[in-house]
Amino acid sequence: MSDVFERVKKIVVENLDVEGDKVVETASFIDDLGADSLDLVELVMAFEEEFNIEIPDDVQENIRTVGDAVTHIKAHVS
């Protein structure tokens, strides 16, 4: 699963139109990568599609950074 981060990064770069080197584990989607609440919803949908998982709404609310997303995805992808 070592490529989870790279796959997440690719989606973030495409969806948020940001430079790849800004997409680090500690980066906050809203504070560092220019996302708004609608972008976050779309990002989570893209993660769900990419990894074929379902991220419940209450978990979505806790995904604030790239690292949060990677951690959650790793925990749910078997």
């Binding site: 969806n15 948020l16 139109d17 609608l38 919803v41 779309e42 949908m45 379902e54």
Partner: protein
């Protein structure tokens, strides 16, 4: 009474991206028609349209120096949040703001500047795409950007966000009269004192399968000229058989006269009169003898304080449909009476197609440019007129001549009519 003038124009049209390139090609007698390349047309009887030329080759824009560049209009991130009618509105608004030189920086100036851009149909392609997603993948896959990409007033919303215009933010939805109503209503907002400056116009982008199929089902579209697209839009010609769809956006900067003078703005024309009526007759067919259109023209004339003899040019609604064209010419003749023989009239839908919600805006812009340059655009493909009239229908070639005042007519489904009169500003 506060006077309202036009101090900026922005156009994205099937002829070109940009006001001057569009106008130059219009006066040169060029047509923006071609085969539809946005979807497979095998199942629809109308296979042609007036598409905006894009720099990726779409709509015949491959080698066109005036092709539309989507990257200049909005970033790829922005574009995912907006339907194409909003993309066109943003591009036209950018050009219009630049052209007008009005870039408010103080809170007061921003709050005195509003936006009123309408659309006839709005984000139809987005609605279509999302319906497919919903059907095949379920509700959880519906994008959070679906609604704000498709809502008609989001053209005004997006433009206001980009430029910081905090005055009235409004929209109009009156089918093919949208653009004219947007300009007329905006002028009233300025006259009433709610704003000093209004960015007003219309945008449309529904050359998609569901849009074409819908208008074809209503028997409104041309189907006899699929092999010769440039011949299809032929208002007042005996062989016309329906309208041909266009797309794009046009916006004008409307400004209170003293406000414009004080900052030394370039003035194209004054918005002298505006009239609006309803047919109360039929959902798609115009009333007999364009009775509602006649009353809209008469109302606009009354507000303008002009005499019919002061008006030199009429840009008609003239969609190239068998039912509409002759009734409108008859109504113009009735209004102008003995002056009809001195009048010139053309339908620029022969060159740019029917831009639906943007039609009234682009055609009003053409009237402003006709007043600026003292030249009137032609009615293309008018080989055998179906009407016997003393009015010069300006067949084939543009006509030089004095244009002191010009009238623009727009009539829409539902029986809604709007008429604008522009005149030289002294």
């Amino acid at each position: 009474m506060r006077r309202v003038v036009i101090t900026g124009i922005g156009i994205v049209s099937p002829l070109a991206n940009g006001t001057e390139a569009t106008w130059e090609r219009l006066i040169a007698g060029k047509s923006g028609a071609g085969p539809i390349d946005l979807f497979d047309t095998k199942d629809v009887p109308c296979k042609i349209a007036f598409q905006v030329p894009w720099n990726d080759g779409r709509g015949g824009g491959a080698d066109d120096p005036h092709a539309f560049d989507p990257d200049k209009a909005a970033s790829s991130k922005e574009r995912r949040r907006i339907d194409e009618f909003i993309l066109y509105a943003l591009a036209a608004a950018d050009e219009c703001v630049e052209d007008s030189g009005w870039k408010p920086e103080t809170d007061h100036d921003k709050e005195r500047t509003g936006v009123l851009i309408g659309s006839g149909i709005g984000g139809l392609q987005s609605i279509y795409d999302t319906a497919i997603t919903l059907h095949t993948q379920g509700a959880r896959r519906v994008s959070p950007f679906f609604i704000p990409s498709a809502l008609i007033n989001l053209a005004s919303g997006q433009v206001s966000i980009r430029h910081g215009f905090k005055g009235p933010n409004h929209s109009v939805v009156t089918a093919c009269a949208t653009g004219a109503h947007a300009i007329g209503d905006s002028a009233r907002l300025i006259k009433y004192g709610d704003a000093d400056v209004m960015l007003a116009g219309g945008a449309e982008a529904v050359i998609c399968e569901i849009g074409i199929a819908g208008f074809c089902a209503a028997k409104a579209m041309s189907t006899n000229f699929n092999d010769t697209p440039e011949k299809a839009s032929r208002p007042y010609d005996k062989d016309r058989d329906g309208f041909v769809m266009g797309e794009g956006a046009a916006v004008v900067m409307l400004e209170e006269y003293e406000h414009a003078k004080a900052r030394g703005a370039k003035i194209y024309a004054e918005v002298a009169g505006y009239g609006l009526t309803g047919d109360a007759y039929h959902i798609t067919a115009p009333a007999e003898g364009s009775e509602g259109g006649y009353r809209a023209m008469k109302m606009a004339l009354g507000h303008s304080g002009l005499d019919v003899a002061d008006i030199d040019y009429v840009n008609t609604h003239g969609t190239s449909t068998p039912k509409g064209d002759e009734g409108e010419v008859g109504a113009v003749e009735r209004l102008f009476g003995d002056h009809a023989k001195n009048l010139s009239l053309s339908s620029t839908k022969s060159a740019v197609g029917h831009l639906l919600g943007a039609a009234g805006a682009i055609e009003s812009a053409f009237c402003a440019l006709a007043i600026r340059d003292q030249v009137m655009p032609p009615t293309l493909n008018l080989d055998n007129p179906s009407v016997d009239t003393p009015i010069d229908l300006i067949p084939h070639k543009a006509k030089k001549g004095k244009v002191r005042a010009a009238m623009s007519n727009s009539f829409g489904f539902g029986g809604t009519n709007a008429c604008l009169i522009l005149k030289q500003a002294d």
